[in-house]
């Protein structure tokens, strides 16, 4: 399928947008979130990322040419050799944001690094000659990050992501097995299947960035580096729990890593994360706030009020919508008429992107760009990740409202298996090494449950503590 690349509405005061350079060559593969090209408006220099993975086939507007928002400036296809279909045909879906002559022979003027990558490298006195681009031909932020850590590009990042995702999956499955045996108190909302979103987003955050999670918090918390022991003890209602037993499974936190108490009122954390980001900005801090929420939350007033406020305040916040197609038992088609929730961003003059939430690399690339934008004072972004929760909405939900076929098709796209195959095939990481990681995670999980079970109950008096500061 052919997808046109369009100049997005960049919120400039109108008028022409100048193409500064393309970072990808015709014929080259890009991942969702990779910068395609750089533009200059009357306001700023902006990088325009790809919305989806595919191959850049035609550059229709070259460096130094000027175009208007909405103009088609390039064409992408899903596969490298398929025929290109006329972009004016109705079936062509816009891909990214940018113009339209038919000249196809010129190549990209120069291939270096994205401005953000350059900025980051400069900040750290890193010579770009020492940085290798992992996928796109130009150096991206994550390549600089990897180089800064002195690690081979991508492999170690991907191994770390694999480890986090495995920890989350195995933890959730372990709890589920214990729940089936009647050993888990209280409620349980689990995130198996959604690990790539949590890990892809949080791996681009700093420790002092703050995340605001939901009733389904385990993935977000563990991805941000929260204490497994303290979370587990909280689920078991113990004094050693992360909030002393007051919270339970829906209210997990680890303030030492910037994980605020997760919120069980759908959508409530959206304005809260916005306010947190506004305070960061007012205090002159370059910290970023992230609000996680589901597709269902996009229909509550707090979502709309929060996004609009964040937009007008240029708050350094990233809104991460995990679209798993269901709010409890209700399919998104019952409650929502649009197909991309990210489109709602446009109503608030904010950027919104939809991407594959089962691909941790795609998640991270897009999130890193949004987080970096926020950090540089360029305002909020709405990211919608398509994902799926493998288990029920909450404990004991047999999912009678979902078709088996649908579940199977999502299971076939498992985010962890995907990384396993990639590590094995593209980076030569052995099954044995991956197995060791899994065993290490499993041991950590079992130790955490033992810790929780052995921990004391909170005292009755502690019920009365902390009403007022």
């Amino acid at each position: 399928m052919t997808h046109s690349i369009i100049i997005p509405d960049l919120g400039a005061t109108g008028g022409d947008v100048k193409i500064v350079e393309w970072l990808v060559r015709e014929g080259q593969h890009v991942d969702a979130g990779d910068t395609l090209f750089v533009v200059e408006t009357d306001k700023a220099t902006e990088e325009i990322p790809a919305f989806r993975a595919g191959y850049l086939r035609r550059v229709l507007a070259h460096a130094d040419e000027e175009r208007l928002p909405g103009d088609v400036v390039g064409l992408m296809t899903d596969t490298s050799d398929e025929a290109i279909v006329d972009p004016t045909a109705a079936s062509v879906e816009p891909v990214a944001a940018v113009a339209a002559t038919t000249s196809v022979s010129r190549v990209v003027r120069r291939l270096t690094a994205s401005p953000r990558a350059r900025h980051l490298a400069r900040q750290h006195n890193l010579d770009l000659a020492n940085v290798k681009a992992a996928s796109a031909s130009a150096i991206q932020v994550r390549d600089v990050v990897a180089a800064l850590e002195g690690q081979p590009v991508a492999a170690d990042w991907l191994i770390a992501a694999f480890r986090r995702m495995v920890l989350i999956r195995r933890y959730e499955e372990h709890l589920y097995q214990l729940f089936l045996q009647g050993l888990v108190p209280g409620t349980l909302h689990q995130c198996q299947g959604q690990e790539a979103v949590a890990v892809g987003v949080c791996s681009s955050l700093r420790r002092d960035d703050m995340i605001f999670s939901t009733h389904r918090p385990v993935g977000h918390l563990l991805a941000k580096g929260a204490s497994l022991n303290a979370i587990t003890a909280e689920i078991w209602g113990k004094a050693t729990g992360c909030v002393g037993g007051k919270g339970g499974q829906m209210h997990l936190a680890d303030f030492s890593v910037g994980a605020m108490v997760s919120n069980a009122i759908v959508g409530a954390n959206i304005p809260i994360a916005t306010g947190c980001a506004m305070a960061f900005k007012l205090q002159g801090l370059d910290r970023v706030a992230v609000s996680f929420f589901g597709d269902g939350a996009c229909n509550i007033g707090a979502f709309h009020e929060g996004l609009n406020l964040a937009a007008v305040q240029d708050a350094p916040v990233v809104f991460v919508c995990e679209n798993n197609l269901y709010a409890a038992s209700t399919h998104i088609s019952v409650t929502t008429r649009i197909s991309n929730l990210a489109d709602r961003a446009a109503a608030y003059g904010m950027r919104g992107y939809t991407a594959d939430g089962m691909d941790v690399e795609a998640v991270s690339a897009l999130a890193a760009a949004a987080i970096e934008r926020a950090r540089l004072g360029k305002g909020p972004t709405l990211l919608e990740y398509r994902t799926y929760r493998y288990r029920g909405h909450s404990r004991g939900d047999p999912c009678g409202y979902r078709a088996d076929e649908e579940q199977r098709s999502w299971l076939a796209r498992d985010p962890i298996e995907r990384v396993r195959i990639r590590l094995n095939q593209d980076f030569g990481v052995t099954e044995e090494n991956l197995g060791t990681i899994e065993q290490e995670c499993q041991r950590e999980i079992e130790a955490a449950v033992e810790f929780a079970l052995a921990s004391p109950e909170p005292t009755a008096e502690s019920c009365l503590e902390h009403v007022f500061a």
Partner: protein, 335 residues
């Protein structure tokens, strides 16, 4: 019939007889779904279709607001909050709109809606189990109902749906009954017989559920059952408690409570709501105003402390009034 089924039966009867009755809420009608938060509406969409059993987005404010508008247009909507705690997302529609429309129109418009709120602590923490009756008893224009048995639940819900005012209808999660995995742990088993036919219990009535001459205990919902258990223990100590189930808080049948206090000379109020500013405080004030001279002991309240609801079992036990606390307070009062 458990309470969930009794409530479902009431809605089914009301919907069969009156085509203007409709239901709104999250996950209430999805095929293969939950039947709302606690199975109460299970199967109703099969009989009445998705036009009358409306699965809404997660939009509490719109749920209540739409119910207000539909009621003003002649429908009788029954709106469900999945958990009572979420009504705070819709408070403007409840307090500024539903409660006041009749008054603000100088009686020219009616808002006959029912707002169903599942409440009660069940180990889900501070945002999924608050008892909030007092917030609504304090708002003029709202009727407030809070049944303790399946029989009362059915008759009161039928009367509420047919009432021409907005009725806030509390349902305690541990009283729903229900089966299998969707049943709340620590549920109370209620074996009451519920007739299949249509019947109403008038709003504004209380029920004397146990007679006794030594102390009057007023309670609602789960606390009625704890008070009844406490009464057994007290009886063994030679103290006969009269238990009044205050199944409707607005309008309030204070006369029956007053008569009981004239007989027993002692009043103990048990509520799962917070102590300060609770409905119990209002009853204490009314009895002090009307029957102070009959009292042989200060009026006492056993209520939840003025803290948010904690989650851990050990903390929840300390929070929710227990049989032991009711017994020991009653003993102190009758000593």
């Amino acid at each position: 019939m458990g309470m969930a089924e009794a409530l479902r039966d009431a809605m089914r009867i009301a919907m069969r007889k009156d085509p203007t009755v409709l239901l709104l809420g999250e996950d209430i009608g999805v095929s293969g779904g939950f039947g709302g938060g606690f199975t109460v509406t299970l199967g109703l969409s099969d009989e009445f279709g998705h036009d009358r059993v409306i699965d809404t987005p997660i939009s509490e404010s719109a749920i209540v607001g739409a119910a207000v508008g539909a009621a003003m247009a002649g429908s009788r909507p029954v709106a469900e909050m999945q958990y009572g705690d979420f009504v705070f997302c819709a408070m403007d529609q409840v307090v500024n709109q539903a409660a006041k429309m009749h008054y603000m129109s100088n009686g020219q418009v009616r808002v006959p809606l029912v707002l169903r709120l599942p409440v009660g602590a069940s180990q889900r923490g501070a945002q999924h189990g608050q008892c909030t009756e007092a917030m609504f008893t304090h708002t003029p224009g709202l009727k407030v109902v809070c049944p303790a048995t399946p029989y009362d639940a059915k008759g009161l819900l039928l009367a509420s749906i047919r009432d021409d005012n907005p009725v806030v209808f509390f349902e305690h999660k541990l009283l729903y009954g229900g089966k299998g995995t969707r049943k709340e742990s620590a549920s109370v088993s209620l074996g009451a017989d519920v007739p299949v036919e249509d019947y109403e219990i008038p709003l504004g009535t209380v029920a004397v559920v146990r007679e006794g001459g030594d102390i009057t205990v007023v309670a609602n919902m789960l606390m009625v059952h704890r008070a009844l258990s406490a009464a057994e223990i007290l009886a063994a100590e030679g103290i006969e408690a009269e238990i009044i189930d205050i199944r409707c808080l607005v309008p309030l049948d204070i006369a029956t409570i007053e008569q009981s206090v004239q007989k027993t000379s002692r009043l103990l109020i048990v509520e799962e709501d917070h102590l300060t500013g609770g409905w119990g405080a209002e009853i204490a004030a009314l009895i002090a105003e009307r029957a102070l001279n009959y009292l042989d002991a200060p009026i006492r309240r056993v209520a939840a402390p003025d803290t948010p609801l904690p989650c851990a079992a050990a903390l929840e036990r300390a929070f929710v009034p227990s049989v032991e606390r009711i017994v020991s307070t009653a003993m102190q009062m009758t000593r």
